[in-house]
């Protein structure tokens, strides 16, 4: 049994076909990078996995339970999303809450942690991403790199089983990319199942167990990094690599 199993997934935005017939298995502990040109459907695929986008057709199973089933309830979806952490390109920190409150909000509301437990968890996570000194700051006072590390800590506070990263470094100034990638690397090495949409190919090569190359809504290559970067399975991937890598 795969952790995540996707079958014949289609997603249309109006007349635009963004994903066509995606089939994918994700095993526990895998670190999968999704690469490809802009508009290839990578982010949409990621957002379908926690149903921020509702697939037009197809099936997604999590631990053999179909989350795309018409009878799958709203409350079940909320419980499911607690297990799937997500990190956004634009951070999406809550500007009206302090860094600590950003992290403790959901554990207190949805996991029933007390304020003390949640705060303790938040502070140890902030320590882990190197931001202990920012625990009482508000998001507007943080740099992009710091914001993204808080966003990662916020997702981890739910103790998820899978982490989704949607272009986590694309909105960052160059000098801040590294500090965020280091946190993701550490997470990947700790055994967390990760799906990462990224344009950082060198990073993807280093940390991934699998590279998915998407173009035009199709998965054109699905290979371990050492194979993908030496002999990609698709001419489009080869062209892409020759242009950007």
């Amino acid at each position: 049994m795969s952790l995540i199993n996707i079958q014949n997934l289609h997603k249309n935005f109006g007349d635009l076909e963004v994903l066509r017939d995606i089939n994918l298995d994700v095993e526990t502990g895998e670190v999968i990078s999704l690469v490809g040109p802009s508009g290839s459907g990578k982010s949409t695929l990621l957002r379908c996995i926690n149903l921020l986008e509702i697939p037009t057709s197809g099936h997604i199973y999590y631990r053999d339970e179909e989350i795309t089933h018409p009878k799958y309830k709203e409350e079940d979806l909320n419980l499911y999303r607690q297990k799937i952490g997500m990190v956004f390109q634009q951070f999406n920190l809550f500007p009206h809450l302090s860094v600590t409150e950003n992290i403790t909000l959901s554990p207190m509301l949805t996991l029933g942690l007390s304020k003390e437990e949640a705060t303790e968890r938040a502070h140890s996570l902030l320590d882990r991403v190197g931001l202990s000194d920012k625990k009482d700051s508000y998001p507007a006072k943080l740099s992009g790199g710091q914001s993204q590390r808080v966003a990662i800590a916020r997702a981890l506070a739910m103790q998820p089983e899978v982490m989704l990263f949607d272009e986590p470094t694309s909105a960052l100034d160059p000098e801040m990319v590294k500090e965020v990638l280091e946190v993701i690397r550490e997470l990947a090495e700790s055994g967390m199942t990760c799906l990462i949409v990224t344009h950082e190919l060198a990073f993807a090569k280093e940390i991934s167990s699998r590279i998915l190359f998407l173009d035009g809504g199709d998965i054109l290559a699905d290979q371990p990094p050492q194979d993908f970067f030496t002999h990609p399975a698709s001419p489009r991937a080869k062209e892409f690599l020759s242009l950007v890598f």
């Binding site: 419980l79 999303r81 500007p95 009206h96």
Partner: protein, 255 residues
């Protein structure tokens, strides 16, 4: 002040020769009438704002409903109410609808002014009117909070309701407050149209004094000053409220 004003008015050559002699002393004994009018204006404005806000909340909820019919009703309501003059709406409620059998009863328990059919009808007409404007304000405020905020909240497992309550509404309030203050101030002034249907508000008190003293100019100035005073106090209060919700300092984008 009164002396100087009347002096200028009397001596100015650009005024028509038949200019009146300004004399506030003739209207001042009628202060009780002005006071009662002010009280009624305040009560009418306050009730309108409260009922208008509650109705607006309902309209916004309807607008966001997944049922197309409900959402359409809300949209159509706002279109009609904002697209017709409030005076026309008032006259329809007061004189039009009773012709087809829709009329509000007197409620003697609320007193002779507040309990009168006219006062209740005016309150209904004004509240329904205000609700449309406030609903648009609320909707604008809620929409101004980026979708990324609710996506982040939902991705953490928060329900729709929790997302609304803990993420969207707290961020929408500072956006909505200035507009809401404007609406309240507008309402104090707008209630003056109820005098046209014979309700004893501040504007109407001017009619009474005018008819009794044959002074036209002075009562108009008196009620203008009272309106100005009321709106100034409200402006000051709203400014304080805005500051309380730290519209500016706590989380504007500085970084």
């Amino acid at each position: 002040m009164v002396y100087i004003l009347s002096h200028i008015l009397n001596k100015s050559t650009f005024l028509v020769p038949a200019a009146i002699k300004v004399d506030f002393s003739r209207v001042l004994p009628w202060w009780k009438v002005f006071l009662e009018g002010t009280g009624n204006t305040l009560l009418l404005s306050l009730c309108t704002v409260i009922f208008g806000l509650l109705l607006a909340l309902l309209l916004v909820l309807m607008r966001r409903s997944k049922l197309k019919v409900i959402s359409f009703i809300s949209k159509a309501y706002v279109l009609v109410v904002r697209g017709t003059p409030i005076l026309v709406q008032l006259v329809i409620w007061m004189y039009g609808l009773p012709l087809i059998g829709i009329r509000f009863p007197d409620i003697p328990a609320l007193g002779s002014v507040f309990g009168s059919r006219e006062f209740i009808t005016a309150l209904v007409a004004l509240s329904l009117n205000s609700a449309a404007y406030v609903a648009e304000l609320l909707r604008g405020g809620l929409d101004a909070v980026s979708t990324g905020q609710s996506e982040a909240a939902r991705s953490l497992g928060l329900s729709q309701r929790q997302t609304m309550r803990h993420i969207i509404i707290p961020q929408a309030i500072p956006i909505i407050l200035p507009g809401l203050g404007n609406e309240f101030i507008q309402m104090i002034k707008e209630t003056s149209i109820v005098s046209t249907v014979g309700i004893f508000d501040l504007m109407y008190s001017q009619n009474i004094v005018q008819a009794s003293t044959y002074s036209i100019f002075e009562p108009l100035i008196v009620i203008s000053l009272i309106y100005l005073f009321l709106t100034s106090v409200l402006t000051h209060f709203m400014k304080k409220l805005e500051r309380k919700f730290h519209v500016v300092n706590k989380y504007t984008e500085l970084a």
